[in-house]
Symmetry: C2
Subunit: 418 residues, 2 copies
């Protein structure tokens, strides 16, 4: 079987499985999720052996210590995966929920009902825990999933997926509800994302280059999780202690994540008071500040920013800093350089807050809070598949509801159209 046939067979199996999954009861799906958790636990040694093989190959290939760490499946991480599967079982099932009901004058009753999307392809890098997370969210929402992990985690992903498939099949779910692509051939991605007669949605998880490559090739709809270039705008009326605390949290609590702040915009009227305090805080927290001329004039220690600093996603203890004349300029900067992820205004001025939340074109717009809250768990959605930077279908944290679509079910008693 060549690659094309191999991928189309995965697609056929997934499509077939998705038809059956759509009719599965919540109870059955939850039993399956718990059986998947149990299977990961039971096959722990097999999974760790496969992971050792990946780690060995990774060391031979000269992977960095950070990448090897991300790749590593310790017992603690496997416990986390098992707990994650059980947590998803405990979440409410969106499938079948009624989104609207209309009774028309002719007596037709039109129900709008949540249903699974169908077949979802997840393309991801490094971290093998995505294998389990993605499988869990898809099973819960009655979607068949085809997983395509990174080359570095190939054996770990295969072993994990086998355990997950075994668990779900044991609970009576279709055998192909969860499938893993059994090749590291790069062309498999192209085949997957062009299979628009079998696949309903592609979600790429990883660096920007991976996502761009998927978008370039895809004929199937893609929901994109691009970078997070988050901004905090400190308005003239901001509480400066609050601003320092929120900035520090958004920059330093976990600098390597997508909802960490990357650019700070400061109102010109408050810059003389705020920037020296900010400089002190950044020194203490080892944050490098790359500032525009106006800011450097107030704090000569700041490193001058280059044009490339606006819109940069550092994922590091670096922040770009710009002094702006007013809220409109802050909004314009964010809409020009941001990534439509999460942006905050710190202000005591209701009008400024209103303009900011209305005009900033991002998934999450904050007033007086840290951007770090953009997260399915923090939003009270339970688990999440990631943070969509798209505007269609799913925006911001993508939880269970965002993995469903709807259909109209129309009940009549012989109505015909006049």
């Amino acid at each position: 079987m060549n690659l094309h046939e191999q991928i189309r067979t995965l697609g056929d199996n997934a499509l077939e499985a998705s038809r059956r999954l759509a009719s599965m009861s919540t109870r059955r799906k939850n039993i399956a999720l718990r059986a998947m958790a149990a299977a990961v636990d039971t096959q722990r040694d097999l999974i760790k052996a496969a992971n050792d093989r990946d780690l060995q190959l990774g060391r031979e290939a000269g992977l960095s210590a950070a990448l090897l760490d991300r790749l590593s499946l310790t017992d603690k991480r496997l416990d986390g995966i098992i707990r994650g599967l059980r947590d998803v079982a405990d979440l409410p099932d969106p499938v079948g929920r009624c989104l609207g009901r209309r009774r028309r004058p002719n007596g037709l009753v039109i129900l709008k009902q949540r249903v699974p999307i169908g077949v979802i392809v997840i393309i991801y890098e490094s971290r093998p825990n995505v294998t389990a997370d993605a499988a869990a969210l898809c099973v819960k929402t009655g979607n068949a999933v085809i997983l395509r992990g990174g080359k570095d985690a190939y054996h770990s992903n295969q072993a994990l997926a086998e355990a997950l498939a075994a668990g779900s099949a044991e609970a009576g779910l279709p055998a192909c509800a969860v499938q893993c692509v059994a090749t590291t051939d790069r062309d498999a991605v192209r085949e997957l994302v062009q299979m628009d007669d079998r696949v309903d949605l592609v979600i790429p998880r990883g660096g920007e280059s991976l996502i761009r490559a998927v978008v370039e090739q895809a004929r199937v709809p893609v929901i994109k999780h691009y970078k997070g270039v988050c901004h905090i705008y400190v308005d003239e009326s901001a509480d400066l202690d609050m601003a320092l605390a929120i900035f520090e949290n958004a920059k330093c609590q976990r600098p390597g994540v997508c909802n960490a702040v990357e650019t700070l915009l400061v109102h010109v009227g408050i810059a003389p008071a705020f920037l020296p305090q900010l400089a002190e805080r950044c020194r203490r927290q080892h944050v490098e500040v790359r500032a525009d001329e106006a800011a450097c004039a107030i704090v000569p220690d700041f490193k001058p920013a280059a044009e490339a600093d606006w819109g940069a996603e550092y994922l590091d203890r670096i922040v770009a800093l710009r002094v702006v004349p007013d809220t409109e300029s802050a909004i314009a900067h964010i809409n020009a350089y941001g990534s439509r992820h999460s942006d905050a205004i710190l202000t005591r001025d209701e009008q400024a807050a209103k303009a900011f939340t209305r005009e900033v074109d991002s998934a999450a717009v904050y007033v007086n809070a840290s951007t770090r809250f953009t997260d399915g768990g923090e939003f009270g959605m339970g688990a999440e598949m990631g943070i969509s930077t798209d505007k269609l279908h799913a925006r911001g944290p993508m939880g269970l509801e965002e993995l469903t679509t709807y259909k109209y079910v129309i009940q009549g008693n012989g109505q015909i159209r006049a």
Copy 2:
């Protein structure tokens, strides 16, 4: 200015307009829609002169009478366009509506709010009334729109768009809220659908080949309005008089539209009683029946169906007919050959209805009613942009709500993440 620059300028203008449109009040948008209606009325002679020019060119190019008729802007049709614009003004505005509100334990208040999508490109053929309909729906939902109509209606579309833009600008909307591509160069479509830094959504309206071409080229998300291969399944327990009436309505009331029925599936147990009556009804209505062997054995007059008849969109007084052993086979046939548009079961058996509505993977699934009801107006949604056969973002009739997305607005008082 070359084509690439010309299209990017349209994109820049639309993006700029969309930022301002997002903040426009419902009242202002409705004033604009009424001003657009008035402008079309005032510029009626200009529009008709432009239309005459298209009709003249069309006659010279040998367009069919049917195409010339579709192209023609009579006073009656202009009245319809004007009425349509006013009707959209009267519809409720979805923008700003609250889709959910959560207060988190840390005091954060998370609002999920409807907002415009941003910049929408509509690519369509022939009928110039789409120019006004699409502009109206986009203005109402605060989206900037770039219109790209068919070559045959080029002058009509330009004249209409000029009137619409004049009306909307007069009411204080951004000048580039409604723009029309001022070239018939085919490469303009490619430029438009690849401009993913300025355009949020592409909606192609027209034949399957147009939509396929857009999907192949697009880097921007596309919501597809593919064909309607609608099915009616007459179950063993169906009321035969109802079945005949619904079939006749779904096939004959307007055979050329996407929600007309194309294939009839009949339960084997009821075929001997139903098919002769069906044959008689089809004879009377001049409907050609292309049937499988089992049906031809009962009614030898039926023309034998070929494999290509399953899944065919005739848009004509032709129907494919297949005898099936049970509801499951009917569902499998629909999922294999249908176009995920509208499909109906006619039955008195609740279990069969339940299985059918659950397992048929279509936007609208009917029990005992004609497929002809799949329509924004009939569903009580007001105006519509078309019927999406996609599963993401918008499924089935695409009304005002489907032309919006959402953002999260988070109100805090200094919260940082632990």
